[in-house]
Each structure stands twice: as C-alpha cells, then as structure tokens.
Symmetry: C2
Amino acid sequence: MTTLEIRNARGLDGSPVDVRVENARIVALAPSLPGGPGNGVRQIDAGGAILLPGLVESHTHLDKTVWGMPWYVNACGSQLIDRIDNERQWRAGSGHDAAAASLALGRAFLAAGTTRLRTHVDIDTDAGLRHLEGVLATREALADTLDMQIVAFPQSGVLDRAGTVALLDDSLARGADVLGWLDPCAIDRDPKASLDAMFALADKHGCPVDIHLHEPGEMGMFSLELMLERIAALGMQGKVVVSHAFCLGELDAARAEVWLARLADAGVALITTAPPSRTVPPLMACRRAGVTLAGGNDGIRDTWTPYGSPDMLERAMMIGLRYNLRRDDALEIALDCVTYQGASACGFDDYGLRAGARADLVLVDAVNAAQAIVTRAPRRWVVANGNIVVSEGVAV
Amino acid sequence: MTTLEIRNARGLDGSPVDVRVENARIVALAPSLPGGPGNGVRQIDAGGAILLPGLVESHTHLDKTVWGMPWYVNACGSQLIDRIDNERQWRAGSGHDAAAASLALGRAFLAAGTTRLRTHVDIDTDAGLRHLEGVLATREALADTLDMQIVAFPQSGVLDRAGTVALLDDSLARGADVLGWLDPCAIDRDPKASLDAMFALADKHGCPVDIHLHEPGEMGMFSLELMLERIAALGMQGKVVVSHAFCLGELDAARAEVWLARLADAGVALITTAPPSRTVPPLMACRRAGVTLAGGNDGIRDTWTPYGSPDMLERAMMIGLRYNLRRDDALEIALDCVTYQGASACGFDDYGLRAGARADLVLVDAVNAAQAIVTRAPRRWVVANGNIVVSEGVAV
C-alpha cells in the first residue's frame, strides 16, 4: 500500500490543510493530520503552498500539435474550411506522427498540473484511424498518471466524405470514449441528415457526444434547436457537450435565459476557449441557470493556431480576461472552469479535493486562486493518480 | 568612445544581420560587418537569435502597481467610478510609494526588452504631485537605459475637483511631458468645459495630449467629435493620442472608414490594450487609413486589475489573440504595435533598427516574429541606450 502525506498546504481561503493518499486515492483531508510518518509513508512538506485539485483540460487536440517540434509557419487562409483543408494537406506531407505529438504535449500538460484531459482525435477518410492509434499509444504510455478521454472527431466533416461514419463507428469500438462532430449546417450542409447520423451513432454505442459548434447567430441556434429535439427523443439528457457555442454569446439577456434553461433541462454542458475575438456563452448566466461551462485550449501550437499552452492556469487567465473577472473571488470562477466544471462537462468521476477521489493534487506558490491564475504560479508539486510527477518544481 | 558589435543575429525574415553601436547609437546594420574586434570593442555573439528593436510600452501606470509587492486582494466594485474611488482610498491607507513601485516595474520592463515607455502618473487633489515626484525619481534612476515619457494624468477627473487644473499645470512645468485626461462626458459630466480646459492647458504648454476615452457608443463618438473640432481650431494636428477608444470598435465598416480618415487627417493616434472583453478599434482598417494604432498594458497588477505583465511580447500576443491574427506574417503586425507603432504614437524619435537611431536592441530565441510573440521568447540580450541590461538571458 503506497501512502503519501502532504503537510503544510493551504486551501484557497488560506486555511491549513493536510492530505493523506493511499492507493492513488485521497483518504483524508484535514487541517492537520494526526501522528508522524509511519513506515512506507512518503511525506511532502508543501511549505504553505496552495492546494488545487488536478487541473482539467476539457477540449484540446493532442494529435495535431507541433509542440516541441520545429516552428510551423502558418500561411493559411482565414476561413474554417481553409484551415481544415490546409491541415489535411500538411499532415499528409509532413511525416506527422500523432503518437509522438500527443505524447510530447500530454507530458507537458502533466508537468503543468493537468491530470484529466479530453482530446479530440481527427478521424477522416485520408488519415483513417492513424491518429486514433497514435493517441491510444500515448494514453497507454501515460496510463499511470494522465486520465485521458478520447473523442473520435470528424474534423473534415461527415456527409461529404463517404466512409466517415464507418470510421467513427470503428473508432468507438476500438477505444474512443466520445463521439465528436462539427457544424451540421456550415460544414455538413444538411443539418437533419448530419445530426440524425450523429445521434444514431451515439445511440448505438451508448456514448456521449461532443459537437464543435462554430456556427454563428441564427444558424447556430437552429442547430442547437435540432439537437435539443433529438436529445429529448432519444433520452440523451446529460450526454451532450457543445464546444464553442459562439452563437449563445450573441443572444440578449432575456433570450439567453430561456435558452440556458432549456440547455440545463437537457443536461447539455458547454466548453469554451474564451476566445478574445469571438462571442462566448455568458458565464455568469450559465452558472445561474445550472449549465456547466468548462474551459479548454482547443488546438495548441498547430496548423490552425500558433497560440495555446498546456498550462490550464494560463487558460483560466484567458477566461478571466474574456469575462472581465477582476476580483479575487471572481477569479475562483475561472479556476472552477478548469477544474470542477471541466470534470463535470467531461464526466470525470471521482474528481476533486475530497476523500474517495482519485489523488490528483497540485501545489502552487500563490496565496489564492487569483494569484495562482494571474502569475500562472509555479507548480511546486503535482500528484497524478497518486504518483508524484512534479517534485520541488521539477518534472520527474 | 564605447563600441559594441553584435554578430550572428538574424532579421525577422531569417537573414543574417550584424550591428555596430557607437556612443549609444546604431552606426551600422549589415549582413556581415567587416573586420574583427578592435580595441575597446565589446562583441556579442547572438548565436542566430532574432534581432528586434527595443520594445515600446505606450500606455501603462508605473506609479500605481503592486508589482513585486505582496498580493493585493481585489474586492472592488465593477464600475469605473468604483475603481477610481477604491484606488484613491487604497493609496491613502496603504503607505503606497510611487517611487518604489515605479522603479520595480520599470526594471522589470527593461529586463523584458522594453526600452521606451509612456507612463501615466496620477495627479489629483488628494495625492497632489506625490506620484509625479516618485516617478521622476525613477526616471532619473533609470535615465541611462529607459527612455520614459511621463503623462500627468487626472485619474479622478478634473471638473469636480477644484485645483486639479493647477496641479496638472504644475506637473507639466516640473517634468511631465504629456497632458493626460479622461472621459469628458462620463467622468467630467461637462464635455465642452472639460475639453476646453484640456486643450487650453496643452496649448499653454505646447505639449501633446493623451486622453483615456472609455466612453462607449455614441457618447464616445461625441467626445471624439468635440476633440476633432478643437484640434482643427488650435492646430493641434499630430499632438493627440486617444487611448482605449472602445467606441471605434462599435462602428460598422463604412462609418469606421469615414472616421478613421478624419482621425488620420488630424494626426490622432490610438492606443489599445486589446482587451478581450471590450470592443477595440479596427486594426487593419486603421492601418489602411494611416492611423497609428499602438499597444499597451494599461495598469499592471494594481488595484484596478490583477492582470498585465511588463513583457511587451505577451502584450503582442494579446493583440494577436484579440484581432485573431494567426498567420506568421499577421503576427508581424502585432509586433509592430509594440515597436514602431508605439514609437510613432508616443513620438519617440530616433527609434528603430536603422543607422542613427538610439541603440535599443533585443535579441530573442526564436525563428521569427510569430514564434517570438507566441512563446514570449527568452530575451537573450537586451541593449538599452547602448547599455547591456540583459546578458546571456540574465538581467545585469
């Protein structure tokens, strides 16, 4: 039985907290644990560092990053379809290796305190299941530490590419956890057929769905409407995540309230990157309505975007900036988006700072959540699934 | 005669470049300087690092930061006037020292490659000229390296606080370079009287103006209209900077085009922080119209905001994110906002990578502007006014 004790940590409110971990589970959290170290107990002196739960990345694309590789010069057009086509061509010609890419970025996430992660993995008729196989290898390699969900994601669309549904079907049979999808109007050009195919496949596998909804304005709202009809018809409440959902950021307050109540009833969770250049779902209204709103990077350093970082405290900072959160107590909400809200959106159970949860713990040099986020505070210790992956600030 | 030679640097396009500095001036830039080192010549091997001009911070508040001090817990209300009042109370009760604050942050800017900086300094009837005196001391302390412009800024408004105009007058006589102002409608409540007072004082001192225009929508456009009338009447073309100018981000393209042409005619420059939660002047339209648009942080880690960083490459990243610049060549525009556009907006002459300019040079570990910005690349060497302030990545 492996036992770990963290002493002299502090909660977000500054109060003292010790943690005891046995067999990769938190077994006790208390202001002061009794007794000294026993045999076989590894003790960590947190030195007053703030204790956070393991950070959660709810939306990224490990398979397509160039993280750690030579700089990719982006000379791509500005439309969504330009980026999709550009990437497919780059992948084919660059010797891109989804296993190596995802492993490099997965390790970087761990080193920055992310212990749970949902990654989309491109599935298309050019690449087949090559990306899935690469990311499955990374999941296996990091199985002791990083809890990784894999979304089979048809980045190039579905209806226009015969064979894509079969590939997605195969992906879900071979280890993908979630069915991904995207813009049923703007990309698939036939929202009824597109969403019928999506829900049929999810129903067949009994799996959750995560749809990337970039569609703006009334187009996006129409797609949401069609989704809600199908969630009700199929009893898929609580199984659907909508990523981006820019359209929800265009509604006036009264209409947003109606829609968020409908989304809450359907158990639809939202994930945002908090993009500075786009509209975003209204954070505080989501919280009032009981709609989960989590944060993610989307792609990091890939052919889509040069931006992004495997540091979820930096993503929390972007959330704080996008929603103009300035007070220290408001920044706790930004932290919530990359911790508990992320776990809720993705369905990571046994999460959090509580007895019985998986031992995912981060100790940072800060006095509270606001300082941790704004300074992107050094990760002094990271424990992932009971294993120490950062020790005294150094990845091990 | 102090001579410095930088060899094996690269331009933004990757081409080799050497630099020769004499008496704090760039005297030569060439792919390869002739000859070896002479007596008294300090040589720097750039090792292939990218050469940038010294970075320019066009809008910050050195006097009010808590940089390097214990964390300030923000529990302030959300309105502009709440923040103004909260800060004045905090200053009065906290033992705040504008000299120490500005020196700490000024040094941090230098270490990150900023060699020219415009700082606003609070002038009001509570603090009198205390902030100005503190920042003047910092300017003196850093005079060999940091080229600092001081704006006498009536943060608490002018018309409602008798004696403020006299304090501003005094500030300009005692070393402030620029007259600051803010919202003539929203704060001063009497735009005609407010702007008349502003232009009269600027006219008296023959000094430039930098007005913080937070006013949204038609209110902001009305204030701009009143300003343009006075610029024309007084011949103040080329002497006025408008900071923030959120209202310009609300115009449709056709109206923006008309307005930007008027601003260009009046030589009005704009400065933005590229806030993710507010509208912003249209970057590409400004460039087409010939309106200077520079980037700045605004306050850094103060009672207004926990955010901000003395790293102008991070500010360039925020500009890139706000304006959705993804291509490598587009990110050169973000870099321009924190270099040449900043120098133009603030009127820093003798600026840039050219013979005759002040020797302000930054060498970063990156292959181009995009990588420098996105990775906030390590500053390997920083030369400020001919003096080495960062050597092999270490501030000296």
